[in-house]
């Protein structure tokens, strides 16, 4: 009799510590397919959308007859053709799939053309005739707040007293408006702030950021069994694509399958905003009965989809002679674009990170959600956290220069520490890593010596100036929408011993599938090559959360581990009974079962043989796992709680060199020390840290979004929108992971999330630019440096510094320069 399956000879075990990305060979040989690379279904149609050219207008008429008559056109779709809801808003309504009656941003989709070729679809678009009734657009978020134009209400976090344990007078029972709150029992916060010996105040504009995923947004929908649809989507949130497609078509969710194998980058841009593409392709497939692919030209992608929120921030900080902060008032205005999208969470997260790594004393943080007539801004790595950290980092440099201290000393003095360990929203810092991490980086980067050397250099160099800065990062890990902190997984063992896993997370290059495979392989004692992950599919694991908030591995690897542990228990129970093994002696390792028999003899059984025996004995060889993050909860009404399971830490020292006559600069060196707990895969984590820093550097330096007076985006392709290239990365780049500090919480193998936190390490480069500029004024003046700090902005800041007379202004120039 044949065995169940002929088993191949076992290959040597691979490197299980830092294995390469599971698609590594596919990527370097060009065989790893993205949606646009797949064999096309026969009769495939292509979709293109017509965009609004107006930022705010009534839609008087939309004449599409010429479009319908154009060669190759099969179908033209407008809002009237949508059988279900014309709505693809992620959390709140406000994002119509196709415009209906009005347009709310230049770039909004008015109609869709479905044609036999991509060229035909795109060319037919131009034949449409649209009549608008223009309305004055809202394009200035500060003015929008003044006029009460918001997408969602403001939120206030307030702590009345600096004593960490004293909760009296905090917003415990407040139902009133924010104005009433401020006059209420927590009014003490202002007294404490006002009573501080010194103050700095200022404002800053923090620019947005285009995701510029190299693989543009794309979806391919095809009719499927039983009047259903299958959607291949480049989305970080396939369950939401499934849900919104179902709602647009008025179908139950079980008729729709959304599938993601991999994305060519996501960075948050494919969290909520991939849904519109999936829904349009699905609508077209539904109407035509044929497969439909929708991929936009880069320019359309950049006009149509939202970006990182630009922020206008104001701050007023009270401090003493040592630079210790006594109180803070921080106001954050997020430019949300025309609709809520994910802006509730984005502005909340900005507020949660207004302290960055510092104890603020009495603090009030207010976050506004301004409505402007631009594309709806959305998730982007850090999710508001980076923008929220900028005021306090700005202020700490201001304080240091005001007092004539080294900014690092002021920063270190204000870091969270035992006794000064409660955030302004009431979460206690439990793992005190940041002090020692900063000190280690200060030593490793040779900060003090370099600081001295740079001061000497600048004193002797009239034009070229150097700057140095160390900034820390403390980043909260968990979705602030508590229900999203769950994940599911499905693990199957086939009769040859190979293992297939699915989980709710998506792969966008961050190595999530690799990490999950490692976890399953470890729990089953298998070489990594025996474990594989196929695509993320809503019919394998349902109701998944977006792969976002850095939580992919934290959540999904835990769920996969649960499933693997269930299978392991079943196999142990089976083997113990079958082979009379001591129950406590069983272990799966190196591809075999090891145990001691009840007689005390050593026992070994090859993994595949074990699996085959278990199958013949009718043991279920598949299991699901589910995980939900413990301990978390935030009471939004009270503005207090524990939104984050834990914090990830890091710090960076950046050194820059600027030409003060041209504004051009480069980052000559960056040193990073970053905390990932017990790393699941150090090679992948290092890549995330380096890449995060570089992407953050782009956000703060070169990536400038510009809109014209009509609200049309003018930076719509990479010739005018500049993401970092090779030569923009630090010339000397020294990156290390913090060792010997496992996560104090029971995360997967005590690791920490790594996707977003390193992004904010780049704030050190921006602070170093300010440092270099301030050297022109003898380190006594504080330049205003909005972001992105393009060479133009740096040049203007240098000029402003030269035009100021340090002797006259050194004592008062704490406020931003114009």
């Amino acid at each position: 009799m044949r065995s169940l399956i002929d088993l191949p000879a076992r290959r040597a075990s691979s490197d299980n510590v830092s294995p390469a990305h599971d698609s590594a060979i596919g990527h370097v040989t060009g065989r790893a397919s993205y949606i646009d690379d797949l064999s096309e279904p026969s009769g495939l149609l292509h979709l293109a959308i017509g965009l609004s050219t107006r930022a705010s207008a009534g839609l008087a008429s939309l004449a599409l007859d010429a479009v319908r008559r154009a060669p190759g056109v099969v179908e033209v779709l407008t809002a009237a053709d949508i059988p279900g809801h014309n709505e693809v808003g992620a959390v709140y309504p406000g994002d119509p799939l196709l415009a209906e009656g009005e347009v709310r941003y230049a770039g909004q989709a008015l109609f869709a053309v479905v044609a036999t070729s991509l060229r035909a679809a795109r060319q037919a678009i131009a034949l449409a005739s649209v009549e608008y009734v223009d309305r004055p657009p809202s394009l200035d978020p500060v003015e929008a707040i003044r006029q009460g134009l918001t997408v969602l209400p403001e939120h206030v976090q307030c702590r009345a007293t600096p004593a960490p344990l004293d909760r009296t007078g905090v917003l415990a029972d407040d139902n009133g408006t924010s104005e009433q709150r401020h006059a209420g029992p927590d009014g003490n916060w202002r007294q404490a702030l006002d009573a501080a010996p010194h103050h700095v105040e200022g404002e800053q504009f923090i620019g947005g950021q285009e995701h510029f995923y190299l693989e543009g947004q794309i979806a391919l929908a095809e009719p499927w069994e039983d009047d259903g649809l299958r959607i291949l989507t480049s989305s970080q949130h396939p369950s939401e694509v499934q849900k919104l497609v179902a709602e647009v078509l008025g179908l139950p969710l079980h008729r729709i399958v959304a599938e993601v194998r991999r994305m060519g980058g996501g960075f948050g841009g494919k969290e909520s905003q991939a849904a519109a593409l999936g829904a349009l392709a699905a609508l077209a497939a539904w109407r035509t009965g044929r497969a439909v692919k929708f991929r936009m030209p880069r320019e359309t992608d950049m006009r149509f989809t939202g970006k990182r929120h630009p922020f206008h921030n104001r701050y007023r900080i009270g401090f003493d002679d040592d630079g210790l902060i006594h109180g803070a008032e921080i106001e954050l205005i997020g430019d949300c674009g025309h609709s809520p999208d994910l802006s509730e969470g984005v502005v909340d997260r900005a507020m949660f990170h207004a302290d960055n790594a510092y104890y603020l004393g009495s603090a009030r943080v207010i976050g506004h959600r301004a409505m402007t007539h631009t594309a709806s801004n959305t998730a982007f790595r850090g999710f508001g956290g980076p923008q929220g950290m900028m005021p306090i980092e700005n202020a700490l440099d201001d304080i240091a220069r005001r007092l004539g201290l080294d900014p690092l000393d002021v920063r270190k003095r204000n870091l969270y520490a035992p006794g000064r360990d409660e955030t302004h929203y009431g979460q206690r810092i439990e793992q005190h890593l940041i002090q020692s991490l900063v000190e280690q980086l200060e030593r490793d980067s040779d900060y003090r010596t370099r600081r001295e050397r740079i001061r000497q250099y600048n004193a002797a160099s009239p034009v070229v100036k150097r700057g140095l800065a160390l900034t820390p990062v403390k980043f909260g890990i968990s979705f602030t929408a508590a229900h999203l902190n769950q994940a599911g997984a499905l693990v199957r063992i086939y009769t040859d011993g190979s293992v297939l896993a699915n989980h709710g997370g998506t792969e966008m290059g961050q190595g999530l599938h690799t990490k999950v495979c490692q976890v399953v392989a470890r729990e089953l004692g298998l070489p990594l090559e025996l474990v594989r992950i196929s695509a993320t599919r809503t019919d394998k694991v349902p109701n998944t959360s977006p792969t976002a908030a850095s939580s992919g591995a934290d959540l999904n690897a835990m769920a996969a581990r649960e499933a693997a542990l269930t299978l392991r228990s079943r196999l142990y129970a089976f083997a113990a009974k079958r082979h009379a093994l001591a129950p406590d002696s069983l272990a799966l390792a190196d591809g075999e079962l090891r145990a001691t028999t009840l007689e005390g003899e050593s026992f070994r059984l090859d993994w595949a043989a074990l699996v085959q025996q278990a199958y013949m004995a009718r043991v279920a060889l598949f299991a699901e796992g589910h995980y939900s993050t413990p301990k978390i909860g935030y009471d939004k009404r009270a503005a207090r709680g524990r939104p984050f399971y834990y914090f990830a830490y890091g710090a960076a020292v950046s050194e820059v060199e600027i030409d003060s006559l041209s504004g051009e600069y480069r980052v000559v060196r960056a040193d990073i020390l970053h905390d990932v707990g017990e790393s699941l895969n150090p090679a992948i984590d290092l890549g995330q840290v380096e890449g995060g820093y570089i992407q953050g550097l782009g956000w703060l330096t070169s990536e400038e979004l510009k809109w014209n007076a009509e609200g049309q985006l003018t930076t719509v392709n990479p010739s005018t929108y500049k993401i970092p290239a090779f030569d923009d990365a630090p010339i000397d780049f020294r990156v290390a992971l913090l060792e010997g500090h496992p996560n104090s919480e029971a995360t997967i193998y005590r690791s920490k999330a790594v996707g977003e936190p390193p992004f904010m390490l780049a704030i050190s480069a921006w602070a170093a630019l300010r440092d270099a500029i301030s050297s022109i004024g003898g380190y006594r003046l504080n330049p205003r440096l909005d972001t992105p700090a393009t060479p133009e902005r740096v040049l203007f800041a240098c000029q402003a510094m030269r035009e100021s007379d340090p002797a006259k202004t050194s004592r008062v120039a704490v406020q931003a320069q114009p």
């Binding site: 099969v74 044609a115 060229r119 543009g216 880069r298 290059g509 890549g687």
Partner: protein, 214 residues
Amino acid sequence: MTEFRISRRQMLALGASATAGAVASVAAPGAGANADSRPREAVGLLPTSNVSLEINGRAVVLQVDNRTTLLDALREQLRLTGTKKGCDQGQCGACTVLLDGRRINACLTLAVMHEGASITTIEGLGTPDQLHPLQAAFVKHDGFQCGYCTPGQICSAVGALDEIERGVPSFASTDPAIAPQVTAAEIRERMSGNLCRCGAYPNIVAAIIETSEA
């Protein structure tokens, strides 16, 4: 030359019915198509050309709409989808291939311009069982994250190392009279046309330098 003697208006109309490549199977309209959506073969007036190319060592003859970029010819006609379309305007480098050994943005050149040329794409550099040294080095050094720019990076790196070997100076070369060396500064400069949004640049530079030393 009769195929070019058509009016501008006709040209636009014809263009609207043309697929980007010459994939005839895509052009068959299904139910609901109107009368004007005939496949362009039926129209019979398209300016097409035959072009002979050697692609990854194999001779091919393509019939292409003259406006077809080399990138679309590779991806849509030959199904060589390892070469990616990132921006379609020569700014991102994801479509880099080797044309007679030199690197080129395949989105910025037309297929008909390269009669007789030899083209190497990522598929022609190596296979999973027999990786090109640069491909192996990219794996070893994690020279990618999402992988979308990777084929272009590798093709560009092959071209860049060859340029250095041939003594072609770059902006980073200190003295044009001295043969350039494989340094980090040279690699960063020469690779500056290939964007990586994941920021894997340090690892890519390490992979290229190590390959050159092998």
